[in-house]
Amino acid sequence: MTSRAIRTTFQIVLLLFLLLFVYMLDFRLGVLRLLFPAQRELIYQRVTLPTLVIQHMRMVAISSAGATVVGLFIGVAVTRPAGRDFLPLARDLSSFAQTFPPAAVLALAFPVLGFGFQPTVAALFVFGLLPVINNTISGIESVDSRIVEASVGQGMTQRQVLFRTELPLSARVIVAGIRTSVIINIGTATIGSTIGAGGLGTVIIAGLVRNNTAFVLTGAITAAGIAFVVDWVFGRIETLFYDPRERVTT
C-alpha cells in the first residue's frame, strides 16, 4: 500500500516537473541557472522546447502506430494455419534483426531515404515492429492449445477463436510488446536529430557540439521524463487485460 502511494506521488511530482520544465520558460531558466551558474546561454533559442517535444512525439506516434498495426498483422498471420510455416522464420528473423543496434538501423535508413523526418520514421517503424511481432507470436502461442480446442469445439469460427479467445488471452503480452516498441522508439528518435529529423535530440546534439551542458541536460531531462510518463501509461493499460498470474490471487 505505502510503496504504491510513494510511487504515485513520485509519478505526479515528476509529471508536474516535466510540464513546468517544458511549458514554463521561467521555471526552466531557474532550474538551469541553479545547476549551471557560470553558463551564459541557458535556453536553446532556435526552436522552442514544446515544438521539439511535438516533433519528437509525432515521429514516435506515427512509427509506433504503424508498427503496432503491421506487427500485429504479421504476428497473427504467422499463427494462422495458412501462415504457420512462416512462424519460425518470423521469430528468427525478428530476433536476428533485434541484434541490429537501433542507431545502425537509423543510419542505414539514411542512404535509402535521405535526410530528415521520413527516414527516421521509417527506421523507427522497422525497429518498432520487432517487439510487437515477437510478443504477438509468443502471446498467442502461450494460449493453452486445449483452450483453443475447447473454443473450436464449442462452435467458434476461426475469426471468433482469434478475437474471443486468442487475442483477449494474449492482450497483455501484446500490449507489453507495444510498450517496448514505443519506449525504444522514443529513445531512437532522439538519435534521429543527427539526420535532421528534429525532436529532442536536436537540443542535446546542439549542446554537445557547442559544449553547452545546459542544452544537453534540457533535452536529456525532457526525453527521459517523457519516456517515464509513457511507460507508466502503458503499465496502466497492461493491467486492464487478462493476466494469467494475477487472477490466481483474487
Binding site: A150, G155, Q160
Partner: protein, 372 residues
C-alpha cells in the same frame, strides 16, 4: 429442466467403416458402431486406441480418412463445422473453460454464438448452475481459476448443456478430478442424464467410471473396436483374452456396480424403539432393525443368544447402524456387508427411512452363474 428438453429430438450417432490415417500411422481402422438416441456410450481402451480420435470426428475437429460419421442419418461432413459444433455439447478436462471469462460468460458462450439475448443467457446460466448443484448467486461471477477442480468440471458440463444440444461429447470429462470427487460427479452426471436423456459419447480410460455411467461400452484397441455391449455383457462375457485382461480379474466385482440396490432389496424386519422385541416372532431372521416413530433407522439388534424377549431399545447395538442408500450399487452393498459383523446391510431412502435390506443371497442372484 423447465421443459427445455420437451421437443422430442431424435438423434442417433453412427460410425460406418470409419478409418483415420496420419501418414502411415493408422489411428482408426474400419470402425463401426451406433450410439442409440438418448443413451450413453462409453469409448474405452488403452491410450492410443483411438477413442479420443473417434470423438473428435463427430464434431469435425478431425475428419475421417475413410467412411462416414452420421448424425440422424446425415453425414456430419454435410454440416458446416461451426453450425454442427454449436448443436453438440462438448466437455473436456477442466482446462477447457476460457480463463478470461466468468462462469456465466463461459456457460453463455454457445448461446451467444447462436445470437441469444443476454437476458436469456443469464437466466439459462442460472438454471444450469442450479442443475449442477452450484448456487447461481455465488458462482455466476467467479473466474475459472477461483473454482475447485470439481466445480470447474461441473461448469464445463453446464456449458456443454447451455444450448440444450441433443448430443453431448465428453472427453475424459472427470479425468482431472480426484477420485472422491470423481465419484460424486459421476453420480450427478447419471442423475442429470436420467432427466435430460441426451445422446452421449463419453471417453474414459477408467473402467469403473465406464461401468458406472455407460448404457453401452465400446471397447477399443489399436484403432479397432474389440467388443461392444452393455457393461454387464462385457464384464460377464468378455469376447477374448484382451478384453478379459482389460476388465481385470475383479470383473465380477465391477459388474456388481451395474446393479442398483433398490432393484434387488428384500423386506427388512423392524420394530419400534419403544416396542417389545420377541425373537420368537422373528425366527427366520438373524437381525432385526430398530427404528424410531417415523421409521427412521436407529440401529440393529442381532440375535446372538440374548434374552428371548426384551425392550427393542436395549437389544439394539447402535454400532451396527451402517446402511446403504436406495440408489447405491450392489458393489457398495457388498462392501458394507463386509464392513459389518452382520451378513447383511439395511437399505434406507434419502430421509433415512428403513426401506429394505440386502443379503448375500441378493448379491449372488446378480452374479452370473458361470464366470469364465
Amino acid at each position: 429442466m423447465g421443459g427445455t428438453g420437451a421437443e422430442a429430438r431424435y438423434s442417433v450417432i453412427e460410425f460406418e467403416n470409419v478409418s483415420k490415417h496420419y501418414g502411415s500411422t493408422v489411428a482408426l481402422d474400419d470402425v463401426s458402431f451406433t450410439v442409440p438416441d438418448g443413451t450413453v456410450s462409453v469409448l474405452i481402451g488403452p491410450s492410443g486406441c483411438g477413442k479420443s480420435t473417434s470423438l473428435k470426428l463427430v464434431n469435425r475437429l478431425l475428419e475421417p480418412t475413410d467412411g462416414y460419421v452420421r448424425v440422424d442419418g446425415t453425414p456430419v461432413r454435410e454440416f458446416p463445422p461451426q453450425i454442427l459444433r454449436r448443436g453438440i455439447g462438448y466437455v473436456i478436462q477442466s482446462v477447457g473453460l476460457l480463463p478470461h471469462m466468468t462462469v456465466e460468460e463461459n456457460i453463455g458462450l454457445v448461446p451467444k454464438l447462436l445470437g441469444r439475448h443476454k437476458r436469456d443467457r443469464s437466466r439459462r446460466a442460472g438454471e444450469l448452475l442450479d442443475l449442477i448443484g452450484l448456487s447461481p448467486d455465488e458462482y455466476r461471477n467467479k473466474y475459472p481459476i477461483q473454482l475447485s477442480g470439481g466445480e470447474a468440471q461441473r461448469v464445463g458440463v453446464a456449458r456443454a448443456l447451455a444450448a440444450d444440444p441433443p448430443i453431448l461429447l465428453m472427453d475424459e470429462p472427470f479425468g482431472a478430478v480426484d477420485p472422491l470427487n470423481r465419484e460424486t460427479l459421476q453420480q450427478e452426471f447419471i442423475s442429470i442424464q436420467r432427466k435430460l436423456r441426451k445422446t452421449v459419447i463419453f471417453v474414459t480410460h477408467d473402467l469403473d467410471e465406464a461401468v458406472r455411467v455407460a448404457d453401452r461400452i465400446v471397447l477399443m484397441r489399436d484403432g479397432k473396436v474389440v467388443q461392444t455391449g452393455a457393461p454387464e455383457e462385457i464384464l460377464g462375457a468378455p469376447a477374448n483374452d484382451f478384453v478379459r485382461e482389460f476388465v481385470g480379474s475383479d470383473r465380477a466385482l465391477k459388474r456388481l456396480a451395474r446393479f442398483i440396490v433398490g432393484d434387488f432389496m428384500i423386506d427388512a424386519p423392524s420394530v419400534d424403539r419403544g416396542a417389545r422385541l420377541d425373537w420368537n416372532e422373528y425366527r427366520d431372521f438373524e437381525v432385526v432393525y430398530v427404528t424410531d416413530d417415523h421409521r427412521r433407522l436407529l440401529g440393529a439388534a442381532p440375535r446372538n443368544g440374548r434374552a428371548e424377549v426384551s425392550s427393542a431399545g436395549d437389544a439394539m447395538d447402535d454400532a451396527l447402524v451402517g446402511a446403504v442408500s436406495l440408489g447405491s450399487t450392489l458393489r457398495d452393498a457388498l462392501a458394507e456387508i463386509l464392513n459389518t459383523e452382520l451378513a447383511e446391510t439395511p437399505v434406507v431412502d434419502e430421509h433415512g427411512h428403513l426401506v429394505g435390506r440386502i443379503t448375500m443371497t441378493e448379491i449372488y442372484s446378480a452374479t452370473p452363474r458361470r464366470i469364465v
